[in-house]
């Protein structure tokens, strides 16, 4: 069964991994996106993830279904986190399994790339010096929108 969730609770990678796998599958793949401690040469102490909750769950589901088509199995699970995350915390987990490895790698890659293109989620980096700013994002493709990002730098 294809699973797709956006949640504010911490992600348990073992639980996501346990949602896939089958006796038919020779490949099981788990991808974790985690918060790193630097960005563009600046020291980062944490990240705030915001979502358009009612839309994000539907878009993530669409992405997961499209990826399952590539995978050729329905053994795919993706969970995206929202809220305040510390360094090293998991922001996204993608688990897939398939009889052979190529399909798993392709499907996993597809999910993360499409998340970055069109999932309505935004993140604000909190820097070690006390400043914070929204991470520059990607204009979603279906919208026909032009790129003209508002940049805001929050003073401490």
């Amino acid at each position: 069964m294809v699973r797709a969730e956006v949640q504010s609770d911490p992600i348990d990678p073992q639980r996501v991994l346990a949602l896939v796998g089958s006796d038919e599958d020779g490949a099981v793949l788990l991808f974790l996106g985690v918060v790193r401690n630097h960005a563009d040469g600046r020291s980062v102490r944490g990240m705030h993830y915001e979502s358009y909750e009612t839309m994000a769950s539907g878009v993530l589901r669409e992405i997961a279904d499209e990826a399952a088509d590539k995978l050729g199995t329905d053994r795919l699970a993706v969970v995206h986190r929202t809220g305040e995350l510390a360094i090293g915390e998991v922001s996204v987990a993608i688990a897939v399994s398939s009889p052979h490895r190529a399909e798993s790698y392709d499907a996993s890659r597809y999910v993360i790339e499409e998340i970055k293109k069109r999932l309505p989620v935004w993140k604000k980096e909190h820097y070690a010096d006390g400043e914070a700013s929204w991470v520059e994002g990607t204009v979603p493709p279906e919208s026909g929108g032009a790129s003209a990002a508002v940049t805001t730098g929050d003073a401490p």
């Binding site: 358009y52 309505p120 604000k124 991470v135 990607t138 919208s143 790129s147 003209a148």
Partner: protein, 83 residues
């Protein structure tokens, strides 16, 4: 005669406008483009929105020519940064 739509602003757009939600009156059959113009014509800080922002109508991405109906939820989507 006008109809009312519910507009939502996230992340950098919310910070720009200082609000996450506004009810806006538009003409019947107005498009997304019309709504953006109405907002931008209010002047600062609304004129800080892009002329052609990404928008979702009722949780689905929509182009500037999409027509709006009373009660629609129109979300202004800043460039996304999930993952």
């Amino acid at each position: 005669m006008s109809v009312s739509v519910r507009t939502l602003f996230f992340a950098a757009y919310r910070d720009l406008l200082g609000t996450s939600e506004l009810s806006v009156d538009v003409a019947p059959n107005a498009t997304v483009r019309d709504l953006v113009r109405i907002l931008r014509d209010r002047g600062a800080p609304f004129d800080g929105l892009p002329e052609q922002p990404a928008v979702a109508v009722n949780q689905t991405y929509a182009g500037p020519d999409e027509r709006l109906s009373a009660g629609d939820e129109v979300a202004f989507i800043p460039p996304v940064a999930g993952g």
